[in-house]
Symmetry: C2
Subunit: 316 residues, 2 copies
Protein backbone atom coordinates (compact mmCIF):
# COMPACT_ATOMS: atom_id res chain seq x y z
CA UNK A 1 0.00 0.00 0.00
CA UNK A 2 1.47 3.33 -1.05
CA UNK A 3 1.85 5.76 1.85
CA UNK A 4 0.07 9.09 1.69
CA UNK A 5 1.10 12.70 2.17
CA UNK A 6 -2.06 14.56 3.23
CA UNK A 7 -2.26 18.30 2.65
CA UNK A 8 -4.57 20.39 4.80
CA UNK A 9 -2.64 23.63 4.44
CA UNK A 10 -3.02 26.11 1.60
CA UNK A 11 -0.75 25.02 -1.25
CA UNK A 12 -0.43 26.50 -4.69
CA UNK A 13 -0.46 24.18 -7.69
CA UNK A 14 3.30 24.47 -8.25
CA UNK A 15 3.85 23.59 -4.60
CA UNK A 16 1.62 20.50 -4.91
CA UNK A 17 3.67 19.37 -7.90
CA UNK A 18 6.91 20.13 -6.05
CA UNK A 19 5.81 17.89 -3.17
CA UNK A 20 5.08 15.06 -5.61
CA UNK A 21 8.53 15.53 -7.20
CA UNK A 22 10.41 15.47 -3.91
CA UNK A 23 8.50 12.51 -2.47
CA UNK A 24 7.82 10.53 -5.64
CA UNK A 25 7.07 7.23 -3.91
CA UNK A 26 4.18 8.76 -1.94
CA UNK A 27 0.65 9.49 -2.97
CA UNK A 28 -0.11 13.20 -2.41
CA UNK A 29 -3.71 14.06 -1.51
CA UNK A 30 -5.46 17.24 -0.47
CA UNK A 31 -7.54 16.88 2.70
CA UNK A 32 -10.83 17.14 0.79
CA UNK A 33 -9.84 14.16 -1.38
CA UNK A 34 -9.20 11.85 1.58
CA UNK A 35 -11.64 9.00 2.24
CA UNK A 36 -11.92 7.15 5.55
CA UNK A 37 -9.74 4.25 4.34
CA UNK A 38 -6.90 6.65 3.53
CA UNK A 39 -6.27 7.76 7.12
CA UNK A 40 -4.41 4.66 8.35
CA UNK A 41 -2.07 5.06 5.36
CA UNK A 42 -1.14 8.69 5.90
CA UNK A 43 2.52 8.98 6.87
CA UNK A 44 2.99 12.72 6.48
CA UNK A 45 0.41 15.31 7.43
CA UNK A 46 0.93 18.91 6.25
CA UNK A 47 -1.39 21.30 8.07
CA UNK A 48 -3.84 20.57 10.85
CA UNK A 49 -7.44 21.37 11.80
CA UNK A 50 -10.19 20.14 14.12
CA UNK A 51 -11.87 18.20 11.32
CA UNK A 52 -8.72 16.13 10.71
CA UNK A 53 -8.41 15.39 14.41
CA UNK A 54 -11.91 13.91 14.31
CA UNK A 55 -11.18 11.79 11.21
CA UNK A 56 -7.90 10.42 12.58
CA UNK A 57 -9.65 9.50 15.81
CA UNK A 58 -12.36 7.62 13.87
CA UNK A 59 -10.18 5.94 11.27
CA UNK A 60 -6.81 5.49 13.00
CA UNK A 61 -3.32 6.78 12.24
CA UNK A 62 -1.13 3.67 12.23
CA UNK A 63 1.24 5.01 9.57
CA UNK A 64 1.45 8.60 10.79
CA UNK A 65 5.09 9.56 11.39
CA UNK A 66 5.28 13.31 10.89
CA UNK A 67 2.89 16.26 11.23
CA UNK A 68 3.92 19.66 9.96
CA UNK A 69 1.51 22.07 11.65
CA UNK A 70 0.91 25.55 10.22
CA UNK A 71 1.10 27.33 13.59
CA UNK A 72 3.66 27.95 16.30
CA UNK A 73 2.08 26.05 19.22
CA UNK A 74 0.85 22.45 19.25
CA UNK A 75 -2.00 22.78 21.72
CA UNK A 76 -4.54 22.25 18.93
CA UNK A 77 -3.27 18.66 18.49
CA UNK A 78 -4.91 15.81 20.51
CA UNK A 79 -2.82 14.73 23.53
CA UNK A 80 -2.62 11.11 22.31
CA UNK A 81 -0.98 12.24 19.09
CA UNK A 82 1.43 14.62 20.79
CA UNK A 83 2.55 11.87 23.20
CA UNK A 84 2.80 9.17 20.51
CA UNK A 85 6.53 8.50 20.21
CA UNK A 86 6.14 7.33 16.59
CA UNK A 87 4.98 10.74 15.50
CA UNK A 88 7.29 13.71 15.09
CA UNK A 89 5.86 17.20 14.98
CA UNK A 90 7.30 20.27 13.32
CA UNK A 91 5.85 23.74 13.67
CA UNK A 92 6.03 27.11 11.87
CA UNK A 93 7.45 29.15 14.69
CA UNK A 94 9.99 31.05 12.53
CA UNK A 95 7.57 32.53 10.05
CA UNK A 96 5.39 34.05 12.72
CA UNK A 97 8.21 35.99 14.33
CA UNK A 98 8.11 38.87 11.86
CA UNK A 99 4.35 39.57 11.87
CA UNK A 100 4.10 39.03 15.64
CA UNK A 101 6.90 41.52 16.28
CA UNK A 102 5.29 43.99 13.87
CA UNK A 103 1.94 43.70 15.61
CA UNK A 104 3.48 43.96 19.08
CA UNK A 105 5.15 47.24 18.09
CA UNK A 106 1.88 48.35 16.52
CA UNK A 107 0.20 47.89 19.94
CA UNK A 108 3.08 49.61 21.72
CA UNK A 109 3.30 52.63 19.43
CA UNK A 110 -0.48 53.03 19.41
CA UNK A 111 -0.38 53.30 23.15
CA UNK A 112 2.81 55.36 23.43
CA UNK A 113 1.71 57.86 20.77
CA UNK A 114 -2.06 57.78 21.56
CA UNK A 115 -2.95 56.87 17.99
CA UNK A 116 -6.21 55.04 18.77
CA UNK A 117 -7.24 58.10 20.77
CA UNK A 118 -6.57 60.39 17.80
CA UNK A 119 -8.47 57.99 15.54
CA UNK A 120 -11.51 58.22 17.81
CA UNK A 121 -11.23 62.03 17.92
CA UNK A 122 -11.50 62.29 14.14
CA UNK A 123 -15.25 61.80 14.39
CA UNK A 124 -15.53 64.80 16.74
CA UNK A 125 -12.97 66.74 14.63
CA UNK A 126 -11.18 67.40 17.87
CA UNK A 127 -7.70 68.96 17.45
CA UNK A 128 -5.86 68.58 20.78
CA UNK A 129 -2.87 66.79 22.23
CA UNK A 130 -3.29 63.50 24.06
CA UNK A 131 -0.44 61.89 26.05
CA UNK A 132 2.84 61.11 24.28
CA UNK A 133 5.57 58.78 25.49
CA UNK A 134 8.80 57.51 23.94
CA UNK A 135 10.61 54.20 24.08
CA UNK A 136 14.32 54.90 24.68
CA UNK A 137 15.52 53.60 28.05
CA UNK A 138 12.15 52.05 28.92
CA UNK A 139 12.37 48.42 30.06
CA UNK A 140 10.69 45.63 28.11
CA UNK A 141 10.23 42.24 29.78
CA UNK A 142 9.57 39.42 27.33
CA UNK A 143 8.32 36.05 28.57
CA UNK A 144 9.70 33.59 26.05
CA UNK A 145 13.07 34.08 24.38
CA UNK A 146 12.66 31.78 21.37
CA UNK A 147 12.32 32.88 17.73
CA UNK A 148 9.44 35.22 18.44
CA UNK A 149 10.75 36.74 21.67
CA UNK A 150 14.13 37.29 20.06
CA UNK A 151 12.62 39.14 17.10
CA UNK A 152 10.59 41.38 19.42
CA UNK A 153 13.75 42.07 21.44
CA UNK A 154 15.74 42.86 18.29
CA UNK A 155 13.25 45.49 17.16
CA UNK A 156 12.96 46.68 20.78
CA UNK A 157 16.68 47.38 20.91
CA UNK A 158 16.45 49.31 17.64
CA UNK A 159 13.85 51.54 19.36
CA UNK A 160 16.23 52.01 22.31
CA UNK A 161 14.41 49.75 24.76
CA UNK A 162 16.26 47.80 27.43
CA UNK A 163 15.26 44.18 26.80
CA UNK A 164 14.96 41.50 29.47
CA UNK A 165 14.15 37.96 28.35
CA UNK A 166 12.65 35.14 30.38
CA UNK A 167 13.52 31.54 29.55
CA UNK A 168 13.75 28.22 31.39
CA UNK A 169 17.49 28.25 31.99
CA UNK A 170 18.23 31.96 32.13
CA UNK A 171 20.93 31.44 29.46
CA UNK A 172 21.97 34.44 27.33
CA UNK A 173 20.09 35.01 24.10
CA UNK A 174 20.88 37.46 21.28
CA UNK A 175 19.13 40.85 21.43
CA UNK A 176 18.40 40.60 25.14
CA UNK A 177 20.35 42.93 27.40
CA UNK A 178 19.63 40.46 30.17
CA UNK A 179 17.94 37.07 30.52
CA UNK A 180 16.46 35.60 33.67
CA UNK A 181 15.05 32.22 34.66
CA UNK A 182 11.28 31.78 34.48
CA UNK A 183 10.64 32.05 38.21
CA UNK A 184 12.72 35.24 38.42
CA UNK A 185 10.85 36.71 35.47
CA UNK A 186 7.62 36.35 37.38
CA UNK A 187 8.94 37.50 40.75
CA UNK A 188 12.19 39.47 40.56
CA UNK A 189 11.79 41.83 37.62
CA UNK A 190 9.13 44.27 38.81
CA UNK A 191 10.12 47.52 37.09
CA UNK A 192 9.23 46.79 33.47
CA UNK A 193 7.40 49.43 31.41
CA UNK A 194 6.26 46.94 28.80
CA UNK A 195 5.54 43.24 29.43
CA UNK A 196 5.09 40.88 26.50
CA UNK A 197 4.00 37.27 26.84
CA UNK A 198 4.95 34.99 23.96
CA UNK A 199 5.16 31.77 26.00
CA UNK A 200 3.62 28.71 24.37
CA UNK A 201 0.91 26.83 26.26
CA UNK A 202 2.38 24.29 28.65
CA UNK A 203 1.34 23.09 32.10
CA UNK A 204 3.84 25.53 33.60
CA UNK A 205 2.31 28.58 31.93
CA UNK A 206 -1.31 28.34 33.10
CA UNK A 207 -2.80 31.33 34.93
CA UNK A 208 0.64 32.82 35.59
CA UNK A 209 -0.43 36.40 34.89
CA UNK A 210 -2.59 36.77 37.95
CA UNK A 211 -3.15 39.25 40.78
CA UNK A 212 0.12 38.24 42.48
CA UNK A 213 2.05 39.04 39.35
CA UNK A 214 0.21 42.25 38.52
CA UNK A 215 0.51 43.56 42.09
CA UNK A 216 4.30 43.22 41.94
CA UNK A 217 4.55 45.69 39.05
CA UNK A 218 5.91 49.09 40.04
CA UNK A 219 5.80 51.03 36.76
CA UNK A 220 2.21 50.62 35.56
CA UNK A 221 3.36 48.65 32.54
CA UNK A 222 1.65 48.05 29.24
CA UNK A 223 0.77 44.32 29.20
CA UNK A 224 0.72 42.46 25.89
CA UNK A 225 -0.37 38.84 25.46
CA UNK A 226 0.40 37.20 22.13
CA UNK A 227 1.30 33.81 23.67
CA UNK A 228 -1.70 31.86 24.90
CA UNK A 229 -4.90 33.05 26.58
CA UNK A 230 -4.65 30.46 29.35
CA UNK A 231 -1.61 32.26 30.77
CA UNK A 232 -3.87 35.11 31.94
CA UNK A 233 -6.49 35.14 34.69
CA UNK A 234 -9.02 37.41 32.99
CA UNK A 235 -10.64 38.74 36.14
CA UNK A 236 -7.25 39.51 37.71
CA UNK A 237 -6.18 41.48 34.65
CA UNK A 238 -9.36 43.56 34.75
CA UNK A 239 -8.79 44.27 38.43
CA UNK A 240 -5.17 45.24 37.75
CA UNK A 241 -6.33 47.69 35.07
CA UNK A 242 -8.97 49.21 37.35
CA UNK A 243 -6.42 49.51 40.19
CA UNK A 244 -3.81 51.04 37.85
CA UNK A 245 -1.28 48.27 38.55
CA UNK A 246 -1.33 47.79 34.78
CA UNK A 247 -1.83 50.86 32.60
CA UNK A 248 -3.16 49.23 29.47
CA UNK A 249 -3.40 45.79 27.84
CA UNK A 250 -3.25 44.54 24.26
CA UNK A 251 -4.60 41.01 23.95
CA UNK A 252 -4.57 38.75 20.92
CA UNK A 253 -5.20 35.38 22.61
CA UNK A 254 -7.88 34.41 25.09
CA UNK A 255 -9.01 31.65 27.41
CA UNK A 256 -11.93 31.13 25.06
CA UNK A 257 -11.67 31.88 21.34
CA UNK A 258 -13.44 33.52 19.64
CA UNK A 259 -13.69 35.82 22.63
CA UNK A 260 -17.34 35.44 23.80
CA UNK A 261 -19.56 38.42 22.99
CA UNK A 262 -20.41 38.97 26.65
CA UNK A 263 -16.75 39.09 27.75
CA UNK A 264 -15.80 42.40 29.43
CA UNK A 265 -12.48 42.60 27.49
CA UNK A 266 -14.35 43.60 24.31
CA UNK A 267 -15.38 47.04 25.46
CA UNK A 268 -12.88 47.80 28.21
CA UNK A 269 -11.40 51.25 27.54
CA UNK A 270 -7.92 50.12 28.60
CA UNK A 271 -7.82 47.00 26.43
CA UNK A 272 -7.12 46.41 22.75
CA UNK A 273 -8.65 43.14 21.51
CA UNK A 274 -7.45 41.51 18.28
CA UNK A 275 -8.72 38.16 16.95
CA UNK A 276 -5.63 35.91 17.38
CA UNK A 277 -4.08 37.55 14.33
CA UNK A 278 -0.59 38.65 15.33
CA UNK A 279 1.06 35.67 13.65
CA UNK A 280 -0.78 36.12 10.35
CA UNK A 281 1.79 36.39 7.58
CA UNK A 282 1.21 38.33 4.38
CA UNK A 283 2.29 35.56 2.01
CA UNK A 284 1.22 32.55 4.05
CA UNK A 285 1.34 29.87 1.37
CA UNK A 286 4.87 30.92 0.41
CA UNK A 287 6.34 31.36 3.90
CA UNK A 288 4.90 28.14 5.31
CA UNK A 289 5.90 26.15 2.28
CA UNK A 290 9.56 27.13 2.69
CA UNK A 291 9.59 25.28 6.01
CA UNK A 292 7.60 22.26 4.85
CA UNK A 293 9.78 22.05 1.76
CA UNK A 294 13.02 22.00 3.79
CA UNK A 295 11.62 19.29 6.07
CA UNK A 296 10.14 17.21 3.27
CA UNK A 297 13.44 17.16 1.41
CA UNK A 298 15.31 16.05 4.53
CA UNK A 299 12.65 13.45 5.30
CA UNK A 300 12.59 12.05 1.77
CA UNK A 301 16.37 11.98 1.43
CA UNK A 302 17.50 10.97 4.94
CA UNK A 303 14.36 10.11 6.91
CA UNK A 304 15.18 13.16 8.99
CA UNK A 305 13.60 16.55 9.71
CA UNK A 306 15.55 19.74 9.07
CA UNK A 307 13.92 22.57 11.05
CA UNK A 308 11.34 23.45 13.69
CA UNK A 309 11.12 20.02 15.35
CA UNK A 310 8.90 20.30 18.44
CA UNK A 311 10.28 18.87 21.66
CA UNK A 312 7.70 16.51 23.17
CA UNK A 313 9.00 17.24 26.65
CA UNK A 314 8.86 21.02 26.37
CA UNK A 315 5.73 21.07 24.23
CA UNK A 316 7.20 23.60 21.76
Amino acid sequence: MQKIIAIANLVKDWQFKDIQDIASNYQVKRADELTDVDYPNIEIQYGWNADLAEKYKMNGYDSLRWIQVQFAGINQLPKEIVTDQNIQITNMSGIHATPIAETVFGYILNYYRSLHIYKAREQEKHWAYAKHMSLPEKKMLIFGAGNVGKEIARIGQAFGLETVGVNTSGRNVDHFDQTVKTADGFKQVTDANIIVNVLPETDATQAVFNTDFFNRQENQPLFINVGRGSAVVDEDLINALENDRIAYAALDVFNEEPLPRDHPFWTHEKIDVTPHMTGQVEHFAIETYKIFHANLKAYAEKGDLAVNVVSKEKGY
Copy 2:
Protein backbone atom coordinates in the same frame (compact mmCIF):
# COMPACT_ATOMS: atom_id res chain seq x y z
CA MET B 1 22.54 98.25 30.12
CA GLN B 2 22.69 94.58 31.02
CA LYS B 3 21.68 92.30 28.14
CA ILE B 4 18.76 89.92 28.63
CA ILE B 5 18.20 86.21 28.10
CA ALA B 6 14.45 85.81 27.54
CA ILE B 7 12.88 82.43 28.24
CA ALA B 8 9.65 81.50 26.48
CA ASN B 9 10.19 77.73 26.63
CA LEU B 10 9.24 75.50 29.54
CA VAL B 11 12.14 75.51 32.02
CA LYS B 12 12.32 73.88 35.42
CA ASP B 13 13.62 75.92 38.35
CA TRP B 14 17.01 74.16 38.36
CA GLN B 15 17.35 74.89 34.65
CA PHE B 16 16.59 78.58 35.20
CA LYS B 17 19.30 78.71 37.85
CA ASP B 18 21.68 76.82 35.58
CA ILE B 19 21.16 79.40 32.82
CA GLN B 20 21.96 82.19 35.28
CA ASP B 21 25.14 80.36 36.39
CA ILE B 22 26.40 79.78 32.85
CA ALA B 23 25.64 83.31 31.64
CA SER B 24 26.25 85.28 34.81
CA ASN B 25 26.62 88.69 33.12
CA TYR B 26 23.13 88.47 31.63
CA GLN B 27 19.78 89.18 33.18
CA VAL B 28 17.55 86.08 32.81
CA LYS B 29 13.81 86.73 32.45
CA ARG B 30 10.82 84.55 31.74
CA ALA B 31 8.63 85.83 28.90
CA ASP B 32 5.82 86.83 31.25
CA GLU B 33 8.21 89.10 33.19
CA LEU B 34 9.26 91.07 30.12
CA THR B 35 8.10 94.66 29.72
CA ASP B 36 8.12 96.61 26.47
CA VAL B 37 11.41 98.37 27.28
CA ASP B 38 13.15 95.00 27.74
CA TYR B 39 12.79 93.88 24.12
CA PRO B 40 15.52 96.03 22.57
CA ASN B 41 17.90 94.60 25.22
CA ILE B 42 17.23 90.92 24.64
CA GLU B 43 20.31 89.25 23.17
CA ILE B 44 19.30 85.60 23.57
CA GLN B 45 15.80 84.29 23.05
CA TYR B 46 15.03 80.73 24.21
CA GLY B 47 11.70 79.52 22.82
CA TRP B 48 9.39 81.25 20.37
CA ASN B 49 5.68 81.97 19.97
CA ALA B 50 3.35 84.28 18.05
CA ASP B 51 2.98 86.62 21.01
CA LEU B 52 6.75 87.27 21.12
CA ALA B 53 6.81 87.95 17.38
CA GLU B 54 4.23 90.68 17.96
CA LYS B 55 6.17 92.23 20.86
CA TYR B 56 9.49 92.24 19.01
CA LYS B 57 7.81 93.88 16.05
CA MET B 58 6.37 96.61 18.31
CA ASN B 59 9.39 97.21 20.54
CA GLY B 60 12.37 96.36 18.34
CA TYR B 61 15.13 93.75 18.62
CA ASP B 62 18.35 95.75 18.23
CA SER B 63 20.34 93.49 20.58
CA LEU B 64 18.94 90.15 19.43
CA ARG B 65 21.78 87.86 18.33
CA TRP B 66 20.55 84.31 18.87
CA ILE B 67 17.15 82.56 18.95
CA GLN B 68 16.93 78.99 20.14
CA VAL B 69 13.55 77.78 18.87
CA GLN B 70 11.82 74.79 20.43
CA PHE B 71 10.81 73.21 17.12
CA ALA B 72 12.51 71.70 14.09
CA GLY B 73 11.41 74.17 11.38
CA ILE B 74 11.72 77.95 11.43
CA ASN B 75 8.66 78.87 9.39
CA GLN B 76 6.96 80.27 12.50
CA LEU B 77 9.60 83.05 12.66
CA PRO B 78 8.97 86.38 10.87
CA LYS B 79 10.86 86.66 7.56
CA GLU B 80 12.64 89.87 8.66
CA ILE B 81 14.14 88.07 11.64
CA VAL B 82 15.16 84.98 9.65
CA THR B 83 16.90 87.14 7.06
CA ASP B 84 18.59 89.44 9.61
CA GLN B 85 22.29 88.58 9.36
CA ASN B 86 22.90 89.69 12.97
CA ILE B 87 20.64 86.96 14.31
CA GLN B 88 21.62 83.32 14.46
CA ILE B 89 18.95 80.67 14.84
CA THR B 90 19.28 77.22 16.34
CA ASN B 91 16.53 74.61 16.28
CA MET B 92 15.62 71.39 18.13
CA SER B 93 15.70 69.06 15.16
CA GLY B 94 17.55 66.23 16.97
CA ILE B 95 15.13 65.71 19.81
CA HIS B 96 12.17 65.30 17.51
CA ALA B 97 13.75 62.46 15.54
CA THR B 98 12.88 59.76 18.08
CA PRO B 99 9.20 60.61 18.64
CA ILE B 100 8.62 61.31 14.94
CA ALA B 101 10.10 57.94 13.97
CA GLU B 102 8.01 56.23 16.65
CA THR B 103 4.84 57.88 15.41
CA VAL B 104 5.62 57.12 11.78
CA PHE B 105 6.00 53.42 12.61
CA GLY B 106 2.81 53.63 14.66
CA TYR B 107 0.98 54.82 11.52
CA ILE B 108 2.66 52.17 9.38
CA LEU B 109 2.00 49.23 11.71
CA ASN B 110 -1.58 50.35 12.29
CA TYR B 111 -2.14 50.17 8.58
CA TYR B 112 -0.09 47.03 7.90
CA ARG B 113 -1.67 45.09 10.78
CA SER B 114 -5.18 46.67 10.54
CA LEU B 115 -5.11 47.75 14.18
CA HIS B 116 -7.47 50.74 13.81
CA ILE B 117 -9.90 48.38 12.08
CA TYR B 118 -9.76 45.94 14.99
CA LYS B 119 -10.20 48.83 17.43
CA ALA B 120 -13.39 49.86 15.63
CA ARG B 121 -14.64 46.26 15.60
CA GLU B 122 -14.45 46.00 19.38
CA GLN B 123 -17.70 47.93 19.66
CA GLU B 124 -19.46 45.37 17.47
CA LYS B 125 -17.60 42.52 19.24
CA HIS B 126 -16.69 41.32 15.80
CA TRP B 127 -14.09 38.49 15.76
CA ALA B 128 -12.75 38.21 12.20
CA TYR B 129 -9.54 38.72 10.27
CA ALA B 130 -8.91 41.96 8.40
CA LYS B 131 -5.98 42.39 5.98
CA HIS B 132 -2.43 41.75 7.24
CA MET B 133 0.77 42.86 5.58
CA SER B 134 4.43 42.72 6.58
CA LEU B 135 7.35 45.07 6.09
CA PRO B 136 10.37 42.98 4.97
CA GLU B 137 11.46 43.80 1.43
CA LYS B 138 8.90 46.57 1.00
CA LYS B 139 10.34 49.85 -0.26
CA MET B 140 10.20 53.02 1.82
CA LEU B 141 10.87 56.37 0.15
CA ILE B 142 11.75 59.15 2.57
CA PHE B 143 11.74 62.80 1.43
CA GLY B 144 14.33 64.43 3.68
CA ALA B 145 17.45 62.61 4.84
CA GLY B 146 18.43 64.78 7.81
CA ASN B 147 18.20 63.79 11.50
CA VAL B 148 14.56 62.80 11.27
CA GLY B 149 14.68 61.00 7.95
CA LYS B 150 17.78 59.09 9.05
CA GLU B 151 16.11 57.91 12.25
CA ILE B 152 13.05 56.72 10.31
CA ALA B 153 15.36 54.91 7.88
CA ARG B 154 17.31 53.30 10.72
CA ILE B 155 14.18 51.81 12.28
CA GLY B 156 12.92 50.95 8.79
CA GLN B 157 16.01 48.85 8.12
CA ALA B 158 15.51 47.06 11.45
CA PHE B 159 12.04 46.08 10.20
CA GLY B 160 13.57 44.80 6.95
CA LEU B 161 12.45 47.68 4.72
CA GLU B 162 14.49 48.82 1.75
CA THR B 163 15.10 52.53 2.41
CA VAL B 164 15.50 55.19 -0.27
CA GLY B 165 16.32 58.73 0.85
CA VAL B 166 15.77 61.96 -1.02
CA ASN B 167 18.09 64.92 -0.43
CA THR B 168 19.33 67.94 -2.36
CA SER B 169 22.62 66.47 -3.51
CA GLY B 170 21.83 62.76 -3.65
CA ARG B 171 24.87 62.11 -1.44
CA ASN B 172 24.95 58.88 0.61
CA VAL B 173 23.49 58.99 4.11
CA ASP B 174 23.65 56.34 6.85
CA HIS B 175 20.72 53.91 7.04
CA PHE B 176 19.60 54.55 3.49
CA ASP B 177 20.13 51.69 1.03
CA GLN B 178 20.04 54.34 -1.67
CA THR B 179 19.79 58.12 -1.88
CA VAL B 180 18.56 60.15 -4.82
CA LYS B 181 18.45 63.86 -5.68
CA THR B 182 15.24 65.73 -4.97
CA ALA B 183 14.00 65.86 -8.55
CA ASP B 184 14.61 62.11 -8.97
CA GLY B 185 12.76 61.39 -5.73
CA PHE B 186 9.70 63.07 -7.15
CA LYS B 187 9.95 61.60 -10.64
CA GLN B 188 12.16 58.50 -10.88
CA VAL B 189 11.29 56.38 -7.85
CA THR B 190 7.76 55.22 -8.57
CA ASP B 191 7.64 51.80 -6.91
CA ALA B 192 7.63 52.70 -3.22
CA ASN B 193 5.24 50.93 -0.84
CA ILE B 194 5.57 53.59 1.83
CA ILE B 195 6.26 57.29 1.20
CA VAL B 196 7.21 59.54 4.11
CA ASN B 197 7.60 63.31 3.82
CA VAL B 198 9.78 64.95 6.47
CA LEU B 199 10.92 67.89 4.34
CA PRO B 200 10.98 71.26 6.08
CA GLU B 201 8.99 74.10 4.55
CA THR B 202 10.96 75.94 1.91
CA ASP B 203 9.99 77.56 -1.39
CA ALA B 204 11.09 74.37 -3.16
CA THR B 205 8.73 72.11 -1.20
CA GLN B 206 5.37 73.82 -1.85
CA ALA B 207 2.58 71.70 -3.36
CA VAL B 208 5.02 69.00 -4.47
CA PHE B 209 2.75 66.10 -3.51
CA ASN B 210 0.20 66.71 -6.22
CA THR B 211 -1.70 64.74 -8.86
CA ASP B 212 1.41 64.44 -11.05
CA PHE B 213 3.31 62.85 -8.19
CA PHE B 214 0.49 60.59 -7.03
CA ASN B 215 -0.26 59.38 -10.55
CA ARG B 216 3.33 58.19 -10.97
CA GLN B 217 3.02 55.73 -8.09
CA GLU B 218 2.76 52.10 -9.17
CA ASN B 219 2.38 50.26 -5.86
CA GLN B 220 -0.54 52.01 -4.16
CA PRO B 221 1.71 53.27 -1.40
CA LEU B 222 0.88 54.40 2.10
CA PHE B 223 1.55 58.17 2.17
CA ILE B 224 2.73 59.80 5.40
CA ASN B 225 3.21 63.54 5.87
CA VAL B 226 5.04 64.65 9.01
CA GLY B 227 6.97 67.46 7.25
CA ARG B 228 4.82 70.47 6.42
CA GLY B 229 1.21 70.70 5.26
CA SER B 230 2.04 73.06 2.42
CA ALA B 231 3.89 70.26 0.63
CA VAL B 232 0.57 68.55 -0.14
CA VAL B 233 -2.23 69.63 -2.45
CA ASP B 234 -5.18 68.48 -0.35
CA GLU B 235 -7.62 67.99 -3.19
CA ASP B 236 -5.09 66.01 -5.22
CA LEU B 237 -4.44 63.67 -2.29
CA ILE B 238 -8.15 63.01 -1.87
CA ASN B 239 -8.45 62.26 -5.56
CA ALA B 240 -5.45 59.92 -5.39
CA LEU B 241 -7.06 58.04 -2.50
CA GLU B 242 -10.38 57.76 -4.34
CA ASN B 243 -8.61 56.57 -7.50
CA ASP B 244 -6.49 54.06 -5.55
CA ARG B 245 -3.22 55.63 -6.66
CA ILE B 246 -2.53 55.98 -2.94
CA ALA B 247 -3.88 53.27 -0.63
CA TYR B 248 -3.97 55.21 2.61
CA ALA B 249 -2.61 58.42 4.16
CA ALA B 250 -1.45 59.40 7.64
CA LEU B 251 -1.26 63.17 8.04
CA ASP B 252 0.11 65.13 10.98
CA VAL B 253 0.58 68.53 9.29
CA PHE B 254 -1.82 70.56 7.20
CA ASN B 255 -2.09 73.62 4.99
CA GLU B 256 -4.21 75.17 7.73
CA GLU B 257 -3.73 74.25 11.39
CA PRO B 258 -5.72 73.40 13.39
CA LEU B 259 -7.29 71.46 10.52
CA PRO B 260 -10.62 73.27 9.89
CA ARG B 261 -13.69 71.39 11.08
CA ASP B 262 -15.22 71.32 7.60
CA HIS B 263 -12.10 69.80 5.98
CA PRO B 264 -12.78 66.44 4.29
CA PHE B 265 -9.56 64.89 5.74
CA TRP B 266 -11.18 64.62 9.19
CA THR B 267 -13.63 61.88 8.29
CA HIS B 268 -12.07 60.30 5.23
CA GLU B 269 -11.98 56.54 5.79
CA LYS B 270 -8.53 56.21 4.20
CA ILE B 271 -6.89 58.99 6.23
CA ASP B 272 -5.47 59.14 9.76
CA VAL B 273 -5.43 62.70 11.12
CA THR B 274 -3.22 63.64 14.08
CA PRO B 275 -2.87 67.19 15.47
CA HIS B 276 0.76 68.05 14.53
CA MET B 277 1.97 65.84 17.39
CA THR B 278 4.56 63.47 15.91
CA GLY B 279 7.48 65.50 17.26
CA GLN B 280 6.10 65.73 20.81
CA VAL B 281 8.74 64.38 23.19
CA GLU B 282 7.91 62.72 26.47
CA HIS B 283 10.32 64.76 28.60
CA PHE B 284 10.22 68.01 26.66
CA ALA B 285 11.78 70.33 29.25
CA ILE B 286 14.72 67.95 29.70
CA GLU B 287 15.36 67.09 26.06
CA THR B 288 15.10 70.65 24.80
CA TYR B 289 17.24 71.97 27.62
CA LYS B 290 20.11 69.65 26.70
CA ILE B 291 20.41 71.46 23.36
CA PHE B 292 19.94 74.98 24.73
CA HIS B 293 22.46 74.20 27.49
CA ALA B 294 25.12 73.04 25.01
CA ASN B 295 24.60 76.17 22.87
CA LEU B 296 24.47 78.57 25.81
CA LYS B 297 27.76 77.23 27.19
CA ALA B 298 29.45 77.61 23.81
CA TYR B 299 27.94 81.08 23.36
CA ALA B 300 28.96 82.28 26.84
CA GLU B 301 32.49 80.84 26.61
CA LYS B 302 33.38 81.43 22.96
CA GLY B 303 30.60 83.52 21.43
CA ASP B 304 29.85 80.47 19.34
CA LEU B 305 26.97 78.03 18.92
CA ALA B 306 27.57 74.31 19.36
CA VAL B 307 24.70 72.42 17.72
CA ASN B 308 21.63 72.72 15.47
CA VAL B 309 22.55 76.00 13.78
CA VAL B 310 19.99 76.74 11.05
CA SER B 311 21.36 77.59 7.63
CA LYS B 312 19.74 80.84 6.47
CA GLU B 313 20.15 79.79 2.84
CA LYS B 314 18.57 76.37 3.23
CA GLY B 315 15.99 77.48 5.77
CA TYR B 316 16.64 74.47 8.06
